[in-house]
């Protein structure tokens, strides 16, 4: 893709205002039309959400997120490839993206490939990351949260992941799951209440 951006000024404005739904729709339209700048901004917008979502769904393998990150990369590539065929049918672009993500994650869970674990690169300075004890505690707490989520009904679990981890709005989440925004708010309330109850039961136990 080497299309110059005829709407470079508009893309610059959209880069700053990409969280607004209308601006995102405009950005998507430009990206579908092949505008390189718009494509870059759009992928940059969805990539962090996809990474977090894949990490939350797939978890760590041998202490690392390399499989989840690989799946996230596949999702971004698939979105890029499918962009020319995307048609705005009134649903947010997030529905399109997370539909692809769900399929890729399902494929990854089915294959459950244990790839080679990448090693750390050579250190070139002081390590500012948390120490090993703090890291292990964080891993354990995160896995405990995932365990709680797996005990939710599937739709509530997906809803919490999309709303909290991926950061989608209630409207976007509703479009992905086939619900209204109001139904999302009711369901998220029930999901949080159920998580609260399960967490308290575990604490007592």
């Amino acid at each position: 893709m080497a299309n110059p951006s005829p709407d470079a000024g508009r893309v610059r404005r959209l880069r700053a205002a990409k969280d607004d739904e209308n601006d995102l729709r405009e950005l998507t339209r430009l990206a579908v039309a092949g505008d390189d700048g718009a494509i870059e901004v759009l992928i940059g917008h969805i990539r962090p959400m996809v990474v977090r979502y894949c990490r939350a769904r797939l978890g760590r393998v041998s202490g690392q997120y390399h499989i989840a990150d690989d799946v996230a990369q596949e999702v971004c590539i698939a979105v890029l490839s499918a962009l020319p065929r995307y048609r705005d049918m009134g649903r947010p672009f997030a529905s399109f993206v997370f539909g692809i993500a769900s399929h890729k994650i399902a494929d990854a869970l089915r294959s459950a490939v244990r790839a080679a674990v990448p090693t750390e690169d050579l250190p070139d300075g002081p390590d500012d990351r948390p120490g090993p004890e703090e890291t292990v505690v964080r891993y354990i707490e995160a896995q405990r949260a995932r365990d709680l989520l797996t005990r939710l009904p599937e739709q509530q679990r997906e809803l919490v992941l999309l709303r909290v981890v991926a950061g989608l709005s209630a409207e976007e989440t509703g479009n992905v799951l086939g619900m209204s925004a109001g139904a999302v708010r009711v369901a998220q309330h029930r999901a949080l209440a159920r998580l609260r109850a399960m967490a308290r039961e575990e604490s007592i136990a």
């Binding site: 090693t119 750390e120 070139d124 995160a142 405990r144 009904p153 609260r196």
Partner: protein, 205 residues
């Protein structure tokens, strides 16, 4: 018409999933409160005092802290927005540079860099650089042979004498030549075995 058997669901009531009992209508204030909590989590806002005692919020925050970890996004440049930048790129360059230097001194890079040397134009041969014998010497008609058997300082001297010719011939800035050499070295190295013998291919940022 048959009567409904005792315990059968009332079709007039809203349907619900088999694994969740029917729940009473929810107070709108509670829905707004939960939505605010969800939005705060999604925005990665600081925890409030009320959230500190909520085990569900604590669990979700632990999950978010884990999936937002910047490490591991080796395939996705830029990492997670807002997270500290990884030094992995510079580490990769350092590692690749060290590997390249080691291979250059062992002669493996010399064999591989015969690809570069084969492209040297004839005037470099006229400089009178003596041809060196070696099992991996490229064809004589194409190359300026460096004295492979000589110790390192002599090789450096030979390279220095030939460097002006390469510059003259290729007219490339030294930085571009180094970048090209690095890329070719990368292609020649199928796998970089780290200290634990686990493989991964070195990548340039």
């Amino acid at each position: 018409m048959t009567g409904r058997s005792p315990g059968a669901p009332d079709p007039a009531e809203p349907s619900h999933s088999g694994d969740a009992p029917a729940e009473p209508p929810t107070d709108p204030d509670l829905l707004r409160r939960t939505d605010a909590i969800i939005e705060a989590l999604a925005a990665r806002s600081a925890a409030t005092e009320a959230d500190e005692g909520d085990p569900a919020v604590q669990a979700l925050r632990a999950l978010l802290d884990d999936v937002d970890e910047p490490g591991g996004l080796r395939l996705i440049p830029g990492g997670v927005p807002g997270a500290p930048k990884s030094r992995r790129g510079r580490r990769t360059i350092v590692a690749l540079g060290i590997v390249g230097a080691v291979l250059a001194t062992t002669g493996v890079a010399a064999a591989g860099s015969g690809i570069i040397e084969q492209r040297r134009p004839a005037p470099a041969v006229a400089q009178g650089t003596p041809a060196g014998p070696g099992p991996s010497a490229p064809p004589a008609e194409t190359v300026v042979e460096r004295p492979r058997a000589k110790p390192r300082p002599a090789k450096r001297a030979a390279r220095k004498t030939s460097r002006p010719n390469r510059r003259k011939a290729s007219r490339k800035p030294p930085r571009d030549a180094i970048t090209e050499l690095r890329r070719r070295l990368e292609n020649l190295l199928p796998t970089y075995r780290g200290p634990h013998g686990r493989g991964h291919r070195p990548r340039l940022p």
